[in-house]
């Protein structure tokens, strides 16, 4: 028990120690001058990347590039059986699975309605999905940086430059050492097909492998989460030991935690960054504790000790609970244990991570959601002190509230509505594998994971169907691009406002009180929306198990 808590605490300490430095590095990386090779790149696209874009231009660039890459990726995926690097002779995917998969990797969701070993060729893993891992993470990071700039009153910047720098200065330089460390610890990197072994008892065992190490590094670091293998980071080849496990957890947390400090640097508001880090950290710790206690208690009616169903022996309850909450909080979506088999308390904790979307949150966008909640809190508390609410000296007015509210609405619309439809036709649509309240959790989790661009799942769900592929695609696309549009327009509007100087009548946002109020607002707004389904899902299941 004690060692379990200790390892959780230590992992988080490491993250806390890295984040301020990486945050500062990213601020410099995105705000500094171009490198020579980058300049060469910009010349190739004949585009003035030193000209800042307006919110609308930035958004257009995001949408155009995502659409272009998505279409090319879709076409190539369709033809995967005719492209090189296909040692197991896999065929082309169904059209609906192809659409879902490309949308999923393009939106940084990486929800997988297939098994990597049996559906995706090495060529597709490396050439298509491998690029989308970088591209989608870089898109999110660019939007996050643009949002931070706007909030701080600076021009939003240039999408192509931010996209390029995300890859050349953050994602690639960090992926490379991580991948090498993974390789060193036994994560394969080979183009050879599966190894066929004859076991000691004489059975024939097919051991899937492939170019995994490089894929695994960016999958974790970029908050993607789409595993090379079906079983993701529970697979010994994706995550062979506890060093790699800790490394992968830290990689998941590295960028979203650091972005809070990047904000502190760019907006020159380091104090607030620390407060926010503390706030999100506290919520995160609360969720980890909720999950860890549930897993540690296990299900005494079934077997003694902690719940180990769907968990790997080497990770145990503590590392699996920590990972489960981390992956849902950061919108990574990689798993090192099966979420469907988690205790209801963990189901609740992981679902809350998906609903709140800002407990670290996704690459770039998570930090932005945090500020959206902050803006809503500023609005309420600002009124309460008798001033037109302002954030960093910029007034929060109708436009800001409309855009922030739009973001607030996207999630319920694209989780609850399709969830209700699926549950209305459990036989025809839902494909629920675990009966009762857990079935509700399975369905809601799938859409929450899609809309939050997380990608993990209660994988017992029979999700390889036309309905699931298409409805989840809608949730993923809406959950990605609608908030991005609102965020960019919000940031653009804020950037153009004249800031007012702070006086003692101005509500300070870098205080313990305000931070606490923000935390409570986040929990109340997040919880109130989803309390009914949570009550009928994990909460009812929890009571039923007692």
């Amino acid at each position: 028990m004690l060692s379990g808590w200790l390892q959780i605490a230590l992992t988080l300490l490491i993250v806390g120690a890295i984040a301020p430095f990486l945050g500062r590095y990213m601020a410099r990386a995105f705000q500094g001058p171009d490198w020579l090779p980058e300049r060469w790149l910009y010349r190739q696209i004949r585009h003035r990347t030193d000209e800042p874009m307006t919110g609308g231009q930035y958004l257009r660039a995001v949408l155009a590039s995502n659409l272009a890459i998505g279409l090319v990726g879709l076409g190539a995926f369709w033809l995967q059986d005719r492209l090189p690097l296909n040692p197991t002779g896999l065929g082309a995917p169904n059209w609906d699975l192809a659409v879902h998969t490309i949308a999923s990797f393009l939106t940084n969701t990486d929800q997988q309605h297939y098994s990597g070993e049996t559906a995706i060729t090495y060529g597709s893993q490396v050439g298509i999905l491998g690029y989308l891992l970088f591209f989608s993470a870089a898109t999110g990071l660019a939007v996050g940086i643009a949002f931070i700039r706007g909030l701080s009153g600076q021009p939003l910047g240039n999408f192509y430059r931010d996209l390029t720098r995300s890859i050349t200065r953050v994602l690639l330089p960090l992926s490379l050492p991580i991948a090498l460390l993974l390789l060193l610890n036994g994560v394969p990197e080979t183009l050879a097909g599966p190894a066929i072994a004859s076991t000691l008892e004489g059975a024939t065992q097919a051991i899937a492998r492939g170019p995994v190490a490089h894929f695994e590094a960016i999958k974790q670091l970029g908050e993607n989460g789409g595993g090379f293998f079906a079983i993701n980071s529970a697979h010994p080849f994706e995550n062979p030991n506890n060093f790699t496990n800790s490394l992968e957890i830290v990689a998941m947390l590295a960028i979203p935690t650091s972005l809070i400090f990047t904000y502190g640097e760019i907006s020159q508001n380091r104090r607030q960054a620390w407060w926010l880090f503390g706030l999100v950290g506290s919520i995160f710790l609360g969720l980890v504790a909720l999950s860890a206690i549930a897993e540690w208690q296990g299900n005494p009616t079934l077997a003694p000790g902690p719940n180990l169903e769907g968990k790997e022996q080497r990770f145990g309850w503590a590392q699996t609970a920590l990972w489960a909450v981390t992956t849902t909080a950061t919108m990574c979506g990689a798993v090192n244990g099966m979420h469907d088999s988690l205790m209801p308390g963990s189901g609740l904790a992981t679902l809350l991570g998906l609903f709140l979307q800002m407990v670290w949150g996704g690459q770039g966008t998570g930090t932005a959601y945090l500020y959206v909640f902050l803006i809503l809190t500023v609005f309420l508390t600002g009124l309460m002190v008798g001033r037109t609410p302002e954030f960093l000296g910029r007034k929060i007015e109708k436009r800001e509230i409309i855009l922030a509210s739009a973001i607030l609405l996207v999630h319920p619309v694209f989780v609850l509505i399709p969830g209700a439809i699926a549950l209305a036709f459990p036989e025809q649509l839902a494909g629920i594998s675990n009966p009762g309240f857990h079935g509700v959790s399975q369905v809601i989790y799938e859409y929450a994971s899609a809309a939050a661009n997380n990608g993990s799942g209660f994988e017992g769900l029979g999700d390889g169907t036309l309905w699931w592929n298409l409805s989840a695609t809608v949730s993923m696309l809406a959950g990605r691009y609608l908030p991005i549009a609102a965020l960019l327009l919000l940031a653009d509007g804020m950037a153009q406002k004249q800031p007012a100087p702070a006086t003692s009548g101005t509500l300070r946002t870098d205080t313990f009180l305000f931070t606490t109020v923000t935390g409570v607002t986040i929990l109340i707004l997040g919880l109130l929306t989803f309390f009914p389904v949570l009550a009928l899902g994990p909460i009812a299941e929890g009571f039923a198990l007692r």
């Binding site: 197991t88 996209l163 890859i167 769907g310 790997e312």
Partner: protein, 193 residues
């Protein structure tokens, strides 16, 4: 029109970024892999004749009393002849509230008890990957009697083998200790066939 031009522009940029992330980056890793062939190829264990026995990182099914048994696997450790071509991974995905899980665990418990093995948690619950190479030290000890009987070895001898096959937590703190069943059983076989 502007939108189309924008798409073209991003495709040109992506071509360069693709080269960087989907060609150069994996090639660097493949080259590194060439320098670390054991890890890069899946930590394969081979017989002296070069026959692949399995992977040091991947579990194997064992049912004989002469071997330590691994954790239950939903996919029979990828040994189903149907899937032999690609290899698979997978879990039961049964919820704790699912009666099917209770049923399966009850059956498993019965099976273990029939062989005189005290059922431990990790021997009842199936693993996440279906390829888990480890069992807990407690589960190994629980099977000690059965294997000693079948192999006619001294328990202390086995204890030291178990100890040698145990992967410790990272820094003795992160994660749980795990006894690598394949390595343990290989060591057993080396001791007496």
């Amino acid at each position: 029109m502007d939108f189309l031009r924008e798409m073209g522009r991003s495709l040109r940029l992506s071509a360069a970024l693709w080269l960087l992330t989907a060609v150069i980056y994996p090639v660097i890793l493949l080259l590194a892999g060439a320098a670390l062939p054991f890890q890069a190829n899946g930590s394969l264990l081979t017989t002296d004749q070069g026959q692949v026995l399995g992977s040091a990182l991947i579990g194997q099914p064992f049912t004989s009393d002469r071997y330590f048994w691994p954790r239950p696997s939903a996919i029979a450790y990828s040994t189903d002849p149907q899937v032999a071509k690609t290899g698979i991974s997978g879990a039961s995905n049964l919820a704790p509230s699912n009666p099917a899980l209770a049923e399966r665990i009850a059956t498993e418990k019965q099976r273990l008890q029939q062989t005189g093995t005290q059922p431990t948690g990790d021997l009842l619950y199936s693993s996440g990957s279906g390829l888990d190479p480890h069992i807990s030290p407690a589960s190994a000890i629980a099977q000690l009697d059965r294997v000693t009987r079948a192999r006619q070895l001294a328990p202390d001898q086995l204890r030291s083998l178990i100890d040698q096959a145990t992967d410790r937590p990272f820094l003795n703190l992160f994660g749980e200790p795990g006894v690598n069943v394949l390595k343990l059983n290989l060591a057993l076989d080396r001791l007496n066939r």
